[in-house]
Amino acid sequence: MIGSKHTPSPTLAYFRGHKRAVREGFSFPWKKPIRSVLTIATLAICFFIPLFLWTVWLNYDELKQSWQTQGSIAVFVKGQTDESQINQLIDDIKANPVVESAHLINTDEVKQQLETDKQLSKFTKLIKSYDLPQQIGVKTKISQEKSDVENLVKMLEQRPQVEYVSYDQQWLNQLQGLTSTLLRMSHVSALLFLVIIIVILGNTIGNEIAEHKQEIRLLELIGASNAQVRRGFLYMGVFLGIFAGILAVIFLFVSFWWLDDLMSSLMNNFGVDVSLKGLNLIQVFAVIGVSILVTWFAARVALTGQRLNEIID
């Protein structure tokens, strides 16, 4: 029945091999359930941390835009300035590429605006009388460089008609500081977590495969090709990747659900109304896909490390 004449065709053998490898690779983890759960959890954590940062970053990016629209400049004009000069000034301001819009605000409007500011309004109550100059409200375009805005402000301050230019410099500074801190932190984290992931993933998958060293040796000895030896382990990698990816997404949703209300209450304190957004379905699938790819790749690298020339042990 068995003999060199009845050897199956290579294509048939190939597909049978893959079918078996899928079966094998997906049954490995069930043989040592506790160990597999530990491995999957470890991998999931590896995927979760950068995923979390990434999603926070996506949220922050959106947030940043909503903050920046608030960046407005008030230009106070000297009392002696006549209307044509003011109009000229407004046109000049509008010509600046940074500026979205500019218009004259009358004194009542200014008073109203001052009333809405908590701290200032209380202060104005104390001051019995005040007399406000004319003011031009300038709105900058969304997402401008701090330096561009500052240049605009300097330029305006040098104009003879301008008494004083007020723009919430501190707010911009804080925003700028927060942005750059977050950016640099995310660089450090990205680097750190890359190391973490490589180390832990390598260690975990490497251990998983070292466990099967004897099996790999034997498969080599009974004539399995490199591809045949690897196959089962690669599918195991895929299997672990799927579960780790799903778990990581679950971790993400749980942690976001947890953080959401406290984040939004924090943001309310800073005057921003925002709520955290999780991932959409496509992103979820992308994450699981990446997780599979990474685990598969790690398994492949670990397998290459297992191959030696002399196979006695």
Partner: protein, 228 residues
């Protein structure tokens, strides 16, 4: 079929496992390798399996220099050999039947063909009832028989057996030797490393005698049989 030409294998300077060994084996022959413990029997089989590489000399199998075989062609080469290991080398996470069938599955046979033949081979070595046991649940001799079944189930061109009866009693050893003789009659070349002189005497086959890595004798069945 096999030709060793002045083959040496050394590990470091003063540790020579094989010294200048030359011999030829015809296709379809069945022969024994014997010698004291550490004489180099296993080393010869390992060289043939490409588990290790010779330090000097040339080894040809089917007139092909195996030491220059590119690594991509090693699996195909090994698929034509069935090896029985001194330490069994069974996979502990697979049942006995799965261990034997593996040898056929790797060669691309369907599961039904593989398991059918594995079951037949298992009966031949006399432990059909242990088909669904795991190797660690078997006695040493039973494990050895699983290893034997795995080697011959795929009907290779060449069988290399390292002490196939080391854990078996004389009766069983003889029974298994009959299996080897049958396989040999079907044209399979068989090389058996063994120190079981009782067995070697009974079978009246060619015997290569090693001592401390040197080939000191080559008895043919026509001549007198080597006695200790």
């Amino acid at each position: 079929m096999i030709s060793f030409k002045r083959v040496s294998k050394s590990y470091g300077k003063d540790n020579k496992a094989l010294k200048d060994v030359s011999f030829d084996v015809e296709a379809g022959e069945m022969l024994f390798l014997t010698g004291h413990s550490g004489a180099g029997k296993t080393t010869i089989l390992r060289l043939l399996m490409l588990m290790q590489y010779a330090s000097y000399g040339q080894i040809r199998v089917n007139s092909m220099d195996i030491s220059s075989l590119p690594s991509s062609r090693v699996p195909a080469y090994r698929k034509k050999i069935g090896m029985i290991f001194q330490d069994h080398r069974l996979l502990n996470n697979k049942t006995v039947l799965e261990n034997i069938a593996l040898s056929l599955q790797i060669r691309g046979y369907s599961d039904s063909v593989s398991f059918k033949n594995a079951r037949a081979a298992l009966s031949q070595v006399g432990i059909a009832e242990k088909a669904n046991f795991y190797p660690l649940e078997l006695s040493s001799g039973q494990q050895q028989r699983v290893g034997i079944a795995r080697a011959f189930v795929s009907k290779p061109d060449l069988i290399l057996a390292d002490e196939p009866t080391g854990n078996l009693d004389p009766d069983l050893s003889l029974e298994l030797m009959q299996i080897f003789e049958n396989l040999n009659k079907q044209g399979i070349t068989i090389v058996i490393a063994s120190h079981d002189l009782f067995l070697i005497k009974r079978l009246q086959k060619r015997v290569l005698v090693l001592e401390k890595g040197e080939l000191i004798d080559d008895f043919s069945p026509q001549k007198n049989i080597y006695t200790p």
